[in-house]
Assembly symmetry: C2
Homo-oligomer: 449 residues x 2
């Protein structure tokens, strides 16, 4: 793996004002690493670095900066410099950047953007969040289907330098309809005189601008793609999605699922950058809902208050039953939720899931409640009956927890609710209530209370 940039070296060169040397070092590095260095510096110093770099290099660095730093740069450079950055940056990066800026900065940016580019930006800003349109780029290469291979290569040589997607090219007919795709490799391996329409691949996968980015990611996954065309309702090519943006989509969707599974409203923001108010907002609703529903569990205890009064030692086993039930249920729920997300499990598998969870839970429940029985009977002063009641309650709780945990995400899916919200916290609350009913009812029967 290559060496990173040494931050101390940069600080030293900057302090000693050895700017020519500094420039020599930086332009040999990957712009992404230079952007990382940039983030480390306070306001005045970072601009010295930025202005030191060649224009096309600095505009690439710019596209990798955090929104905070981007805003700072825009506020401190000339209109001419903004113009250069705006023309040089890829359109999808430009749109991402503009979306993060406050209104006055956006005005300043758009004022310094060419008419054509401004039109494209405005168009892209209209695609709904999380749609295929919002992650696509328009900097691709397309050929007419009546080109020869030689014509196509000549055209490629002329325009490829400014394009983002250059490995796969697209082929459109006279009505701008997308009719095929062709890789640069195929172009190079084909005869100069043959026609693009005879060499292109017509068996390609595409999405509509309004399609969900998560479904788009699933297609990339299934077909091992690096690029996918985006078309409108008349099958006309309007953009291209590249796999690096899909990797971000996958990360983002996973983060959202994980957050929902831990009973939070999902947030795109990085934890350390998110405000306290925003963090609290994303957490409080679910905590409130679950707190209220946990009172049902309290109601069960209230109902059996007399039982508990005459045998208060029963309370000792409540946390263990509740926790084990919750954990057992959340294990099953998690596997099924993940299986649904990766499109490995569908609603029609519900009986397979139930049958599987039943067998797993009998096995797991038998071992756990067996160990539990021995532990309680031999190591605590509880009698045989009490130990048995706890063990049987444990066994039934685990079976119930695992089946509910396996089934609820599938039911959610079939009701078009996100299965991820059926994870541990909600399952725990449901399972807790049922576990206590089982426990107290068995106590009443076996312990004659």
């Amino acid at each position: 793996m290559k060496e990173g940039i040494k931050l101390e070296e940069i600080i030293q060169l900057l302090e000693q004002n050895r700017l020519a040397e500094l420039k020599e070092i930086l332009i040999k590095e990957n712009p992404i690493d230079v952007a990382d260095v940039f983030e480390e510096f306070p306001k005045e110093k970072d601009l010295i670095i930025f202005k030191l770099l060649p224009k096309d290099f600095s505009s690439e660095v710019f596209s990798y900066l955090s929104p905070e730093k981007q805003q700072e740069v825009i506020e401190n450079i000339t209109d001419e410099e903004i113009k250069f950055i705006m023309e040089d940056m890829y359109l999808d990066d430009t749109v991402d950047f503009i979306e993060e800026m406050p209104a006055n900065i956006v005005d300043k940016i758009l004022k310094n953007t060419s008419h054509d580019k401004r039109k494209l930006i405005n168009q892209m800003l209209k695609y709904p969040e999380n749609s295929a349109g919002s992650v696509m780029t328009v900097e691709y290469i397309s050929f007419k289907d009546n080109y020869t291979v030689k014509q196509a290569i000549d055209y490629y040589r002329k325009i490829a330098i400014d394009k983002e997607e250059t490995d796969i090219c697209f082929v459109t007919d006279s009505k701008k309809k997308l009719v095929g795709i062709i890789s640069l490799k195929t172009l190079i391996l084909s005869n100069d005189d043959s026609y693009i329409k005879d060499e292109m691949d017509t068996n390609f996968v595409s999405v509509l601008t309004k399609d969900d980015q998560e479904e788009t990611a699933a297609l990339f996954r299934k077909y091992d793609l690096t690029t996918m065309p985006v078309v409108d309702h008349e099958d006309r090519l309007v953009g291209v999605i590249t796999v690096d943006d899909i990797v971000d989509v996958i990360d983002q969707e996973n983060t959202e699922d994980i957050q929902k599974m831990a009973a939070m409203n999902p947030s795109d923001e990085e934890y350390l950058k998110e405000s306290v108010i925003s963090l609290a907002k994303h957490r409080i609703i679910w905590l409130l809902v679950l707190m209220i529903s946990a009172t049902f569990t309290g109601l069960v205890i209230k109902k059996y208050e007399e039982v508990l009064q005459s045998a208060v030692y029963l309370a000792v086993f409540i946390p263990m039953l509740m926790d084990t039930g919750g954990n057992a249920g959340s294990q099953s729920a998690t596997l099924v939720i993940r299986g649904i997300a990766l499109e490995e499990i569908e609603f029609s598998d519900i009986f397979k899931v139930i049958w599987k969870e039943l067998r797993v839970s009998v096995l797991v429940g038998f071992i756990l409640s067996g160990i539990n029985f021995l532990r309680i009977y031999y190591f605590t002063k509880s009698g045989f009956e009490t130990s048995l009641v706890v063990a049987i309650s444990m066994f039934l709780t685990i079976i119930m927890a695992k089946v509910i945990g396996g089934v609820l995400p599938l039911i959610a899916k079939s009701l078009k609710i996100d299965p991820a919200i059926m994870a541990s916290p909600l399952i725990t609350t449901i399972v807790d209530t049922a576990a206590l009913i089982i426990y107290f009812q068995l106590s009443v029967i076996f312990l004659h209370i």
Copy 2:
């Protein structure tokens, strides 16, 4: 999006023995979709389909089949057919496939593999699971650094057809050391007479065969790569990792993290395909550990048994306190675990995390315990003091849960323990115990029990 294959149509054509028509339909489809269709058919029928397809098409379909179907095919085709598949399939797919087969099938396969390919397979099988070496391919294109662009393109035309990675080519010096990378695009846009060493990009990122696949995925993410070279300790090029395999790595690592967060030992197997015994094995250890540790919570209740005896109504609020504490803690733990996984949070951020969680928890705790106080005081028959004790316990529990939840994953990270195991179940158990101590102690003080 393109139309999928219509399964009914295939079944009908197969039943009516209209095989020529069936072939016509299938060869127009993506081999991945044909593999999907194949999975739906029972044993005899699927082989009819398989033998119907042209050899190179069927060997591509083969590489996308499930291990079960692959084994069935191998058992039912001739040695000649196996030979063809083995020569035609990409090496990384071959290795994945061989790893899933039982020993007798592996023998049959290797017997029908050329000497050269067998040597490569054996070499690749040696790379440890989850290493960069285990996900790389060796079917790439490399040029000597003293080639001219014209020589390189001529060479490319000769060999590219059999290679897996063809968009980025690699440049080595006389000692086979990797010195640069060059895209096909750059080749096409460069002068025929210029030298590869003058056109190549020397600022590339590479990994060692033994490097972890998760770190490799992080580099793909950071540098927006589609391809990365793998080198040995002498910087010699030994393989290439492509982004489609990295997407699989990301999915796999996310699945593992999610499973660990739900207190399971991670498993690569798809849920529906995993055996009951294996599912139970992956779940039971953690359930057992957590069941035993939940007895500590029981010990707290035992210690305060007299308090509970004289005020058994206190038990009613135990589930709500325990659940809310667990949920609050797991929210914080989840955000920090995810932040660590995406390399956004480091151990050195621990004080930032504590300060953030303190403020969030005061805000959230204040609102929740306020609502709780009003609810208990007005809607249940509990008195002012009891309502107050429950509310204050709730407030303190939430603060403690959120700070513990935020800090434990970071401590785990610094101790080289996987932060993911510090998620909800473990946090819940710790928080439960502390919550009950707070609750009973406050009850003793305020309710004079």
